[in-house]
Amino acid sequence: MTPTLSRIEQAKAERCGLDLAAELPALAAGGWENLDEDDLTIRLKWLGIFFRPVTPGRFMVRLRLPNGVIQADQLEVLAEAVDRCGSDGSADITTRQNLQLRGLLLEDMAPLLQAMEAVGLTSRQSGHDNPRNITGNPLAGIDPEEIVDTRPLVAAIQTRLLAADAPRNLPRKFNIAVGGAPDSFLLHNDLAYLPALRDGQPGFTVMVGGFFSAQRNALAIPLHLWLRAEQLPGFSLAVLRHFERSGNRQARNKSRLMYLVEALGLDGYRDAVLAEFSTLGGEAFPHDGHHLVTRAPRSALGVNAQSQPGLHWVGLGVPMGRLDAAGMAELAQLARRHGSGELRLTEAQNVLIVDVPEAAMPDLLAEPLLQRFSPEPGALMAEAVSCTGSRYCSFALIPTKTTAQSVVEELERRLELPHPVRTHWTGCPNACGQPYMGEIGLMGAKARHEGQMVEAAKVFVGGDMGSDPRLAELHDKGVPLSQLADALEELLVVRFGARRR
């Protein structure tokens, strides 16, 4: 007997959200409250448009920025869109090297999508049950330590997965990443390609099943397959087609890829994917799963020599990844004025200006914007990653970004740290801020304090993205936010070698 489809599955089956694109002007004229509920909360996400219950009438748009690469002209278009929203507008750099714009009216969508298309940007299939923005080495093509340039690979995978014959109705969201350097930590993705050798030949070993959620957190495991670079798009398509057909559509909390891998067994899953791949004419090779990723990600901040002689990238710390229109426009100007006009976004929610000649460096470093987005932020601010928080997300139990920023600033006033410490802040157990990846992870919670329910944070410690990766474990089940700086101060002194000023 065919199981009854859930409401979400019914909505997806009835109509593809991409079909709404042509109707956007009419939908805007009618007002968002007149939208069919499934269109509003589900299907619009196929266009990258998100209804936000916390800001009714003010929508979010999530882009697709393959490998986190964006050009100045493109950033200016997005800055303009945010600027139109006045004090309601902002943009967040996400943990998938992406941007999401907030504060937009439904009326803004049709012209924005048109303006984005004109400069080569898309927000297509960036939300809900789709292959999300594909990440790669943020230093691809400029990295002195580069193993392989991930940009063309990421672009080719995206092109293949957004083609007309690719799946548009996955059982759940799907994260893909391509590693290109010794510090490409990607095991939190459903499908990760890590650079690896086979018989001395460069290629990629395939890792599957990584994800974080409220119920379970898992790092990706080796599928024991090896691919040549040009096989990645086809193999990705095969994985998605199999997932589309075989993934769990009955229980959304058990529908990420790892559950399918477990249901079929690793060998069974591999055989099924290989069979799918062979229908596309592909053939993968056995592999022991060893790869060339050997250490935790670099911060990429500050002035760094590129692989091209005489050129540098300058990594700027964006506090909690939050941008405003003026900051975006100014970043675009700086990239054009001092570099090649290209910028990169990192998974640590920071931004890089690339291709800066040696001679242009003093002028760039003297730019006023670098007072806000410092190339040398404090040891905590540099590595602080945060989810959106309760300002925009109804799941979040605390205002994550503002809390993180104020606590980090306070700790940097109090402490000297011998090295950067990566803190990951998330507002709820859904773990969008990846708290289990942080050396210190913080998760929004409620706790009783002096007889009152107050906003609090659970503290996790020990996440490691190095050669022996592991997830952070619970250290404290609920520190009231008012005491969080004190608790973290103690933790940093005892566990991370911090010295009080």
């Binding site: 219950p53 139109r84 006045g86 004090s87 803004d108 379970r216 909390n253 058990k254």
Partner: protein, 514 residues
């Protein structure tokens, strides 16, 4: 018809006194996938615990029966904590909503409204939530006193419904000075009833508490496409010059979203605006760079008046303005011209030439095709305007200014031009003479008075038709100074950019070009 709310009754087997326990689902066990009856007792886990979060998620998703929880709240065995209420409220059906609204928990709106509000916008668009809540809540609010009404309306106002809109409208009218009512203005906007546009515009524009004006403006934003343009555009245009920068900025951004808003914003460019607001208007309009083709002097020199005009136009438009003299080789555009043209997707060519002489007939097409090639290479459109002298608005402005001057001085006027070739030019001169109401005289640059030999010059105003000083106007001045004439010597009028009205006309027109 609204059914009388039923009191919350214990369900079968539910004991009021039994300590509550609830099926807890540890993280490892995952969340159950099928709805089921609860275990008839509730045992909400400690605040902040993973288990509590999961319990509430189950409740929120309708995976457990709400009755036991409602009962526990009703009998007081469970405290009405906000996170519990927030999870419980959206999934209730109509009979449970009616029961809840009839219970002590709903005696005052504060607790339930605070708990429900964060999720309410997403829930209120769901048919099931609307079916469950709209009528019972309308009934509940209708019989509440005015203070409690105000408290419930943030929930009720998110249902788009004519009856709700009327209630919001009446409440806003009744409590115009009450701070608590100002938050209803965005909700009134969400209702998108065209008749409310005027009220929202009025409250945004008229002097009053700033917070109320902001809320009215947000109401206009949220219902933007619903308001009559005849009310909305003048209101927003007025707000562009508001003393509060946030109000002015938002008005600019809203105007920019309207089909006719660009026209209003371009008019704004010529008003006295706060510099930040002017910059915002410029960003919204993305004016194209202008190339002003001018006559120029010897060696391509461009008179100061024209340079100042170009600078003023550029400052107002927020886009580069390039002056190109006919007498000079094609200039290299300012490095800012092409990026600005790409942003505007166009570059606009405006010949500031007054007569259809050889320059307009021969040089202009040649220069325009050079710009056509350059713009095509840059991937932007070339917008061409007719030569200035042909603009009916310019001719009218010139005629008006000249008539005013003739009336003031009680003198007749002659307008002077250099000799022109061809039938087209002759027809144009005849047309312009008719528009200006005074005759034209063709006269050579090197000796203007020679061309005027046949004219009676007493009590005459001589108008050399030129924007800035040129050989004709300068030579005429010199010749008149050296000529010995009787009294009532003719007066030479200054070049046209020296006339306040005409300069203002030109500045305004150029600033407002797309």
């Amino acid at each position: 018809m609204i059914s009388p709310p039923a009191p919350i009754q214990p369900q079968d087997g539910v004991s009021h006194r039994r300590p509550a326990r609830v099926d807890a689902h540890p993280a490892a066990a995952g969340v159950p996938t099928q709805p089921r009856r609860s275990d008839l007792t509730v045992d909400l886990a400690e605040p902040g615990s993973e288990r509590r979060w999961q319990q509430l998620q189950q409740l929120r998703r309708g995976l457990v029966d709400a009755d036991a929880w409602l009962q526990a709240l009703a009998d007081g065995s469970l405290a009405p904590e906000p996170d519990l209420l927030a999870a419980l409220i959206p999934g209730l059906d109509r009979s449970r909503v009616e029961a809840l609204l009839a219970s002590e928990l709903a005696a005052e709106p504060g607790l339930l409204v605070k708990a429900a509000l964060p999720d309410w916008p997403a829930r209120a668009v769901q048919p099931a939530c609307r079916e469950a809540w709209l009528e019972p809540l309308l009934h509940h609010v209708a019989v509440a006193d005015s203070v409690h009404q105000l408290g419930w309306l943030p929930l009720l106002g998110l249902f788009r419904e004519a009856k709700v809109a009327r209630l919001l409208r009446e409440t806003v009218h009744r409590h115009l000075t009450a701070e608590a009512a100002w938050g209803l203005l965005p909700l009134l906007g969400l209702q998108r009833q065209p008749q409310d546009g005027a009220l929202l515009v009025r409250l945004a524009v008229e002097p009053g508490p700033l917070q109320r004006r902001h809320q009215a403006l947000e109401g206009l934003a949220l219902g933007l496409s619903a308001w009559p343009q005849a009310v909305l555009v003048p209101g927003l245009s007025a707000l562009v010059t508001d003393l509060d920068p946030a109000v002015a900025a938002k008005a600019v951004d809203l105007l920019a979203r309207l089909p006719v808003g660009a026209v209003a914003l371009r008019q704004g460019l010529t008003r006295a605006l706060d510099p930040e607001i002017l910059a915002r208007v410029q960003r919204r309009l993305r004016c194209s760079p202008l190339v002003l083709l001018v006559h120029g002097r010897h060696g391509g020199h461009i008179p100061d008046e024209l340079q100042q005009l170009a600078a003023d136009v550029a400052a107002r438009r927020g886009a580069p303005v390039l002056l190109q003299a006919l007498t000079a080789a094609q200039s290299t555009p300012d490095p800012e011209v092409w990026p600005a043209a790409r942003r505007a997707r166009a570059l606009t060519l405006v010949p500031l030439l007054l007569l259809p002489g050889g320059h307009v007939r021969s040089d202009l097409p040649r220069l325009a095709s050079q710009w056509q090639v350059a713009t095509r290479a840059q991937g932007v459109a070339l917008r061409r305007r007719p030569f200035l002298g042909a603009w009916p608005a310019w001719q009218a402005a010139l005629a008006q200014a000249l008539a005013r001057r003739q009336e003031l001085d009680q003198r007749r006027a002659l307008w002077l031009h250099h000799p022109l070739q061809g039938a087209l030019a002759r027809r144009f001169v005849g047309h312009l003479s008719a528009v200006l109401g005074c005759p034209a005289v063709s006269t050579p640059y090197e000796s203007p008075l020679r061309g005027l030999a046949d004219q009676p010059l007493e009590r005459t105003l001589l108008l050399p038709l030129t924007l800035a000083a040129n050989r004709l106007s300068e030579t005429l001045d010199l010749e008149l100074q050296s000529a010995t004439m009787a009294q009532d010597q003719p007066e030479v009028l200054p070049p046209l950019l020296g006339w306040t009205d005409l300069r203002r006309f030109l500045l305004t027109t150029l600033v407002q070009l797309p």
